[in-house]
Each structure stands twice: as C-alpha cells, then as structure tokens.
C-alpha cells in the first residue's frame, strides 16, 4: 500500500475517530479510557509478525519482549474494561428509564 494511501486512511480515521469519540457521554468516560487502552494492544499484531519471522538472537529477545508487553496490555485492558462495564449491567437489567 502506498504511503499516500495510508495517509488518506489515517486522515479518514482521524475524522471518523473524533466524531465517534466526541459522542461518548461523560458517564462512560472511564470505560472509554480503558477500552481505548485495550485497543492499542493491537500492537500485538505487529509484535507477533516480528517474532514469528525473525531469526537472530538479539532481535528475538526484542520481539518476545514486545509480544509479552502487548499481550498484557491487550488482555488486561479488556478484562478491566469488562469489569468496569459490569457495574453498569444491573442498571441495564432494570431496563431503560423514562
């Protein structure tokens, strides 16, 4: 993919991202923060590609460290988010008000 195409994708992601996030009400800012924290665990994709394709010794250590860090970020982030959202659950079971 050409850099310019990626720049387009980036700009459109900025536009879509700001829209979608500005819509989240402040009640949900805690789960939003922790959910986006989990999302950047996507770097695990990059870490896995690196680790699965590398040969050298030093490079391997770097790659494995990246995998380790990214996994904790990803898994921990989602578990925390789910815990936070769990607190809203009972509210939903009661059903929407008004």
């Amino acid at each position: 993919m050409s850099p310019i195409a990626e720049l387009y994708i980036f700009v459109m992601a900025v536009l879509a991202g700001f829209q979608v996030i500005a819509k989240v009400p402040s009640i949900l800012h805690t789960p939003l923060m922790s959910a986006t924290n989990a999302i950047h665990g996507i770097i695990l994709v990059g870490a896995l590609i690196l680790a699965l394709s590398i040969h050298s010794g030093a490079g391997l250590v770097i790659a494995l460290l990246a995998v380790f860090f990214a996994t904790i970020n990803l898994v921990g982030g989602f578990v925390v988010t789910d815990r936070i959202l769990g607190m809203f659950r009972s509210e939903r079971e009661v059903g929407p008000k008004s």
Partner: protein, 450 residues
Amino acid sequence: MNVLQQILYMVSATLFVLGVRFLGSPASARRGNALLMGGMGVALLTTLVFIPHFSHVALIVLVVAIGSAIGVVSARRVQMTAMPQMVALFNGLGGGAAALVAAGGTAPSGLADWLARLTMILGSVSFGGSLIAFLKLQEWLNVRPRYFLGLRVAGLVMLAMAVIDGLAGHASGSPALSVLLMLMAAVTGALLTLPIGGADMPVVISLLNGLTGLSAAATGFVLDNPLLIIAGTLVGASGTILTQQMSRAMHRSLGNVIWGQKVVESEGGGSGGPVQPITPEDVAMLLRYARKVVIVPGYGLAVARAQMEVKQVTDLLHGFGVDVLFGIHPVAGRMPGHMNVLLAEANIDYDQLWEMERINPRFRETDVVLVIGANDVTNPAARTQVGSPLYGMPILNVDHAGHVIVLKRSMGRGFAGVDNPLYGDPKTRMLFGDAKHSLGALVRELEGTA
C-alpha cells in the same frame, strides 16, 4: 499482503470503530466492548493464518500465555480505586511494545525508517511516563517540589538528545544507537512525569494513552498495516478528546498541567472558623425533615466502597418524601466518569445524577448537602484564593446550601493537597469516620425514625 488478509483487517478496523460507537450509550456499552474484542480476535487470527513462516512457535505461545495470565490476574485482582494506575501500567506496556516493534523491524525505505524512529521515541516516552504515573499513583514514589524545575529541564535535555540520536541513527543504521534512543526517550517520559501533581495524573494518563495510540498508528505506517493505523488513530483521538475535556473541567490548559503552575504555599490560609463535628443521629434528623437534599460524592466514596449505603440512604429519604439528587463534578474521583460508574453499580438512577452546570443553581434552594468523601471539588478556595492550585477550577457550590454535612475520616487534604475553608464555614458540620461506617450509622438512625 494478500487481498483477503487486507479485507479481514478492514473488517477488524470497522469493528473497532463500531465498538467505540456502541460504547457511547450505557445500554449498548457492553456490546461495544464485545465488538472490540471481536475485532481484536479477527485481527489476531488473520495475522496467524496469513503469516508466511513460523519460527519459535513454542516460545511465543509460552510468552503469550504468561502475558495473558498476568493480564487477567492483575486486572481481576485490582481494586476499583487502583484502576487509574492499572490503566497507566497497561498503557506503558503498550507503548513499550510499539517502540520495540519499531526497533526490531527492518524498515526498508527512508520514510519508514523516520517513522520507526518516531515510534521508538513516542512509545518509549509513553513507557517511561506511564511507569512513573503508576508509581506515583500507587504512592510508592514521592518527589519534593524543589526538584521539579531540575527534573523538567533534564527531561527536555534528554528529549533533545534522543532526537539527535534519532537523526544520527537514521544516518548510520546502528542498532546500538536505537537502543540508546529508546532508553533516552523512556527517561524523558519519566523525568517529565515525575513533577506532575497527583491531581493532574488522570490527565497525563489520558495523554499518554493517546501517545501510545499514535505510536501504534506510526508502527502501522512502518509495517504497511492499515489496521494498526486505524486502531492507533482511534486511540489517539480518544486520548486527545479526554485530555481536553479533563483540562477544561479543571480550568487549566494542557501546557499548564504538564509544566505545572506556580503553587503559592498558603499553609497559613487554614480553615477559617473552628471545625464543628456532628453525630449521625443529628444528621439523620436534619435529613429526615429536609425538603431538598443533594449528595456530593467524591473519591472517598470510592475508597470506602460505600455506594450501597448511599443507595440505602437515598431510598430511605425518598420514603420520607425528601427530594434527593446527586451533584456530580466532572473530575470527582480519579478518572473521568468515576462517580457514575460507582453509583451505577449501586443501581442509582441516571436521572438523579445531575452534572455540575445543572446542579449548581439549585444549591441555593437546597436544605442539606451531604458531601461524601469529596474535597477538592467542593473547595471554595477555587473561587476566592488567587494562587491556590485549585484557583479558577469550577466547583460544586455546596456552600450556597442551607446546611453542609461533610463525611470524611479526618481533616486530611484532598488530591490537590490544599486546605478546604469549607470545613470552617459556620454552616458546615463534619461527620468524621470512614464513609461506609458513617453511612451505615445514618441508615440505622433513619430506619429508627421511620
């Protein structure tokens, strides 16, 4: 890259955007999180299916297993009050991973190599800064204000050196210079975060969260992976917006938060008049015969985990025909929206939670305000005391009400570390003790009078 793989990555990116969209309303927020997890699953599976060669599979599986275990256990074990530092820690690890991926990959073109270096800096700054944020919030680390200026200057010098190293490394391509680059950037993040006050930490965490997102996006450019670009940008946007909103709620500019404002040590200010304690019995009486009551929750409520007791008090008062509302300050607690999460857990109706702008005009006609473990967000010094670290921050004007009852354990200060003249106000009575305990006593009293 294979076309099918690209399309699957696109599906994953779409799931991310939609997931955040669904996070935007309480009713669909859990579904939103499920979509995000689904997007992550699609991304990871796609990556594994289309990878050209597999080396060190056993080793990698082991590392992933250990990492997952650590992630699950720590995320499950952590107390709700320690959530901010947990998020900070995860965030730092993500930033570190981004930096390492950028360092480990071989960037072919010139542009990609520049971006790789940028990622190493951004990711490492986020790593170093987040670790310090974690340590400070966990209260394992404390710094004297007189070192602040030195730390900040050193941080900027370190940043300049990292940038120079980045330029040199681009020219020579030496791996040693890359390692040095990351070390210096991490130290930069640490140095710049060290002087930041605890009360400003959530803003910084949100900023670092955005930074990690941007470094993930930059890695996407390096690895030619549009999914990383989109997901990372989404996080970057979220970090930017949350940071802005929090700074605004504290009436500070972002630069002011990071660089700090001149704190006039106003030890002498004191609390004005003498502090007047009150018993649960008297509080119950006051509440029972009030018409309008506003409850102002703060960080102490989270510490005491007393949300259920709050709910009980509310229900009892409703039973007596008292009109009860909650006044929610935008930065009450330690994370944006913290109080909402807490009160939702206790099944308190959203309609009763009024935001600051909406509740403030009502205090004048309120008979009793019950301040539960809140301090800074009710501090009138923010309105009057020029030079106070809180000065200029919009607060909940609880002192406009007829009576103010403050539930806290001691005369201890709030997050901003300043005295609260509210406690010396002749209208104010202090109900000392752990909030859960005090509220429990209140419930018994109210039940007794029923």
